[in-house]
C-alpha cells in the first residue's frame, strides 16, 4: 500500500543524505520526495511517498526514527490528511488545440501561467492521482515537459507534526 511519511529533521548538512541513503541501503522504494526548511529555521520537513505491506512500513518508520537527525515523523496515510502536489507542465497549443487545452485546464482548475504562440505552460495542484488524470486527459503527443514537485501533506484537524 502507498504511504506518505512526513519527517521533521534537523536542518543539518548530511541529514537528507542519511534519509535517502536509508531507503537505498535497505531496499525500500521512494516514489516521491520533497524537502524544505520549516518556519523554524533549525528544522526541515521531508515528505516521502513509499509503498509496502504493514511490516515493511513499520520497519521504514522505525529505521527513520533511528536516524539521529530525525526529530519526529508521522505516517499521514494512517489518518485523515490533505495531500497536494504541484505540477508545471508545458503542452503544445497551436490553432484549434488552444481552446481544447484551455477547457481541460479549466475542468481541472489549473492555471495557464505562460503562453507563446505554440505553447501553454500550465500550473496544477492536487493529489498525485489528479495530476496523472490531467496528463491522461490531454491525450497523446501534447505534453512537452513535466515538472512535478513530489507529494507534500499535512494531517487534517488539530493534529500537528511539530516540536
Amino acid at each position: 500500500m502507498r504511504h506518505i511519511i512526513s519527517v521533521l529533521m534537523e536542518n543539518e548538512p548530511g541529514a537528507l543524505s542519511r534519509v535517502v541513503g536509508l531507503f537505498s541501503q535497505r531496499n525500500y522504494n521512494i516514489d516521491s520526495l520533497t524537502v524544505a526548511p520549516t518556519e523554524d529555521q533549525s528544522l526541515s520537513r521531508l515528505t516521502v511517498t513509499t509503498s509496502g505491506d504493514d511490516a515493511r512500513i513499520e520497519q521504514i518508520t522505525k529505521h527513520l526514527n533511528k536516524i539521529i537527525d530525525v526529530v519526529k515523523l508521522v505516517d499521514l496515510t494512517e489518518g485523515a490528511h490533505i495531500e497536494r502536489e504541484l505540477m508545471l507542465i508545458k503542452v503544445k497549443a497551436a490553432g484549434a488545440q488552444r481552446a481544447e487545452v484551455k477547457r481541460s485546464v479549466d475542468i481541472f482548475r489549473g492555471q495557464i501561467v505562460d503562453v507563446t504562440s505554440n505553447v501553454f505552460t500550465i500550473q496544477l495542484t492536487g493529489t498525485g492521482d489528479k495530476l496523472d488524470a490531467f496528463i491522461t486527459a490531454l491525450g497523446d503527443n501534447v505534453v512537452l515537459e513535466v515538472a512535478r514537485s513530489g507529494v507534500s501533506g499535512i494531517s487534517r484537524g488539530e493534529k500537528t507534526l511539530a516540536l
Binding site: 543524505s17 520497519q59 529505521h63 526514527n65 539521529i68 526529530v71
Partner: protein, 575 residues
C-alpha cells in the same frame, strides 16, 4: 578558560571524556593532531601498522572493557582502510569513535590529494557521523559523539576533521560541555510494565520454555540479571555467538550455542519450545536459518531489545518489549517474585527430560583421530584447560572460530571477542591487542586460522613495539577451511581457490623474524606439553602453529533452508 587549537582541543576533549588510549596511524591531514599528541601525556597513542588493525584493536578494547574504543586515522587511504573495522563494529553494535582527518575545507570537493568523502563512504555503517565545520564546535561534537556511540544500541561514530580545523595557529576558548541536549535522540531505558507483565504471564504458563540471549545482554552488562532470572525459573537457556559468556557455560541449564553450528540440544529445544524469550538478540539468519517461516513453529515469541527496529524485523514478536536488557530483566524478576502464579514444575520436568535425551546425543563429541593427527577441537579444549577457562579469547572467521565458540566454555561476559555480524577475517589478532592493552596482566589468546591470520599479520610489529605477550593459537588446516567445508557439502568437493598448502609461510620463523617466539605442533602427543610451554612464556608473544586435520568439518551444521531442528551431525548423519 584555556585557549587551544583544534588539534589540542580534540585530545583534551578525549581526556575529559575519560579516554586513555587511542589506536591510530598518522598522515598529512592529521599531522596537527599528532603534534598535539606529542605535546601531552594524558592520552596514550598506539601506533598500529594498518588502519584496519587500529579499528579492530579499538574494537577488542571496547568489547572487553565495555568502554568505547577510539581510532585516529588520516584522510583518504587512512580513512578507507578503517572502513572494514567500522563496519565490523557497526554490525555487532560496538561503541567506537573514529576520528578521520580530511583535506582543508577550501579543498573539499576538488579531488584534492588524499581526499575521500569519509562521511559519505561510512554513512551506511555508522550510528552517526560529524563533519567539523568550525574549531569552536569540537568539544561539543566530541561530547555528542561519545554520548551517541555509547548509549542505546551502541555503535561507531565517525568524526571527520578538515586539516584547517586543527591548525595550531588558530586558538579558541576551550570548555568541555557538562550536559548535552539532543532533541532528536532519546534512549529507551526501562521497558513498558504492561508488556513486561504480558511476557511474565506467558513465561509462567509455558510448558516448554526457552531463553535465547544475545550480544545485547553483554552490551548492557546484564549477566547478573540474566543468571538470576534463568535460575529462578529453572528454564533452559542458549546463547548466540555474540552472547557467549553472558550465561555461564558450565551451568547445567546452559544448552550451548544455538544456530548454524549450535548444539543439537539447543537447536532442538528452540524448535520445539512453546514460549521463546529472546533477550537482546536479533533473530539473525545464522540463528533462524534462512526460511523464517519454519522457525520455532509452536512458540509465542517474547522479544526484549533496546532497538525497536530489531523487533519484528525478521521474526514477528508476539510480545515486544523495547528497553535496556538489564532493567527489563530486573523488572521481570520482581514481577515473578510478586506473582501469585508459579512455574508449571511438572511440565518443566517433562521438558527437561526431553532436553536431557537430546543432550545425550553429545553433538560436540570429538571424533578420535588416527596416526597422531591433531583434531582442531582438541586444541581448543587444551587451551581451555591450560588457561583454566579464564582467558580473553579473540577469534577470526572460519572453522577455527566455530571450534573456539563451541569448545571454549565461557563463564564470564566480555571474554569472547569475535566478529559475529560481519564475519571479518583478520579481526582476531588486532582485537587481541586491544584486549591486552586494556588488561595487561590477563591472558589474551587469539584462536585463529592461517588464512585469517595472514590478513593482519603486520601487527607482529606493533606487538613487538609495545611488548604485548599475546598467545596466538593457529589452527592450521592449510586451507580456507570453512570455504572448503561448503565446497565439500554443496559443490561436490570442487576446491575452487580454497587451498594453498604449498605457499604457506613457516609461521614460527615469521614470528621469530619479528622477535617473537614461534612454536610448531604436529603430533597429538606434543599438543599439551608444547601449549603449556607457550603459555608459560608469560611476557612473550608466542605464535603456536598447530597442524590440524585438514579434512575436519564443523558440526552440527544447519541444513540449508531447513528448520532449526534440521542439522547435519557428522559427514554421514542428519537429523
Amino acid at each position: 578558560m584555556d585557549q587551544l587549537s583544534g588539534g589540542e582541543m580534540l585530545i583534551r576533549a578525549l581526556h575529559d571524556e575519560g579516554v586513555d588510549i587511542v589506536f591510530g596511524y598518522p598522515g598529512g591531514a592529521v599531522l596537527h593532531i599528532y603534534d598535539a599528541i606529542f605535546n601531552q601525556d594524558k592520552v596514550e597513542h598506539i601506533l598500529v601498522r594498518h588502519e584496519q588493525a587500529a579499528t579492530h584493536a579499538a574494537d577488542g578494547y571496547a568489547r572487553s572493557t565495555g568502554k568505547p574504543g577510539v581510532v585516529l586515522v588520516t584522510s583518504g587511504p587512512g580513512a578507507t582502510n578503517a572502513v572494514t573495522g567500522i563496519a565490523t563494529a557497526y554490525m555487532d553494535s560496538i561503541p567506537m569513535i573514529v576520528i578521520s582527518g580530511q583535506v582543508e575545507s577550501r579543498m573539499i570537493g576538488t579531488d584534492g590529494f588524499q581526499e575521500t568523502d569519509m562521511v559519505g563512504i561510512s554513512r551506511p555503517i555508522v550510528k552517526h557521523s560529524f563533519m567539523v565545520q568550525e574549531v569552536k564546535d569540537i568539544p561539543h561534537i566530541i561530547k555528542k559523539a561519545f554520548h551517541i556511540a555509547t548509549t542505546g544500541r551502541p555503535g561507531p561514530v565517525v568524526i571527520d576533521i578538515p586539516k584547517d580545523a586543527t591548525d595550531p595557529k588558530q586558538k579558541e576558548k576551550y570548555e568541555y560541555p557538562k550536559d548535552l541536549k539532543l532533541r532528536s535522540y532519546a534512549v529507551p531505558d526501562k521497558g513498558h510494565t504492561g508488556q513486561i507483565k504480558k511476557a511474565v504471564d506467558a513465561l509462567l504458563l509455558a510448558k516448554r520454555p526457552m531463553i535465547y540471549s544475545g550480544g545485547g545482554a553483554i552490551q548492557d552488562n546484564a549477566s547478573e540479571q540474566l543468571i538470576n532470572f534463568t535460575q529462578k525459573l529453572g528454564f533452559p537457556i542458549t546463547n548466540t555467538l555474540m552472547g557467549l559468556g553472558a550465561y555461564p557455560a558450565s551451568n547445567n541449564q546452559f544448552l550451548g550455542m544455538l544456530g548454524m553450528h549450535g548444539t543439537y540440544e539447543a537447536n532442538m529445544a528452540m524448535h520445539h519450545c512453546d514460549v521463546l524469550l529472546c533477550v537482546g538478540a536479533r533473530f539473525d539468519d545464522r540463528v533462524t536459518n534462512s526460511d523464517t517461516s519454519k522457525f520455532c513453529p509452536d512458540a509465542t515469541i517474547l522479544h526484549i531489545d533496546i532497538d525497536p527496529a530489531s523487533i519484528s524485523k525478521t521474526v514477528t514478536a508476539d510480545v515486544p518489549i523495547v528497553g535496556a536488557v538489564a532493567a527489563v530483566l530486573e523488572e521481570m524478576n520482581d514481577q515473578i517474585d510478586k506473582s501469585d502464579k508459579e512455574v508449571d514444575k511438572q511440565a518443566l520436568k517433562v521438558w527437561w527430560d526431553q532436553i536431557e535425551k537430546w543432550r545425550e546425543k553429545d553433538s560436540l563429541k570429538v571424533r578420535p583421530s588416527d596416526n597422531g593427527i591433531i583434531m582442531p577441537q582438541e586444541v581448543v579444549k587444551a587451551v581451555f584447560e591450560i588457561t583454566e577457562g579464564d582467558a580473553y579469547v579473540s577469534s577470526d572467521v572460519g572453522q577455527h572460530q566455530m571450534f573456539a565458540a563451541q569448545y571454549y566454555g565461557f563463564d564470564k561476559p566480555r571474554r569472547w571477542i569475535n566478529s559475529g555480524g560481519l564475519g571479518t577475517m583478520g579481526f582476531g589478532f588486532p582485537a587481541a591487542m586491544g584486549v591486552q592493552f586494556a588488561f595487561p596482566e590477563a591472558v589474551s589468546v587469539c584462536i585463529t586460522g592461517e588464512g585469517s591470520f595472514l590478513m593482519n599479520q603486520q601487527e607482529f610489529a606493533t606487538c613487538m613495539q609495545y611488548q604485548l605477550p599475546i598467545k596466538i593459537i593457529c589452527l592450521n588446516n592449510q586451507a580456507l577451511g570453512m570455504v572448503k567445508q561448503w565446497q565439500d557439502m554443496q559443490y561436490g568437493g570442487r576446491y575452487s581457490h580454497s587451498t594453498y598448502a604449498e605457499s604457506l609461510p613457516d609461521f614460527s620463523k615469521l614470528a621469530e623474524a619479528y622477535g617473537h617466539v614461534g612454536i610448531k605442533i604436529e603430533k597429538s602427543d606434543e599438543l599439551y606439553p608444547k601449549l603449556e610451554e607457550a603459555f608459560a612464556l608469560k611476557d612473550k608473544l608466542v605464535f603456536v602453529d598447530v597442524q590440524v586435520d585438514p579434512n575436519e568439518h564443523v558440526y552440527p551444521m544447519a541444513v540449508k533452508g531447513g528448520a532449526m531442528k534440521d542439522m547435519f551431525l557428522s559427514k554421514t548423519e542428519r537429523t
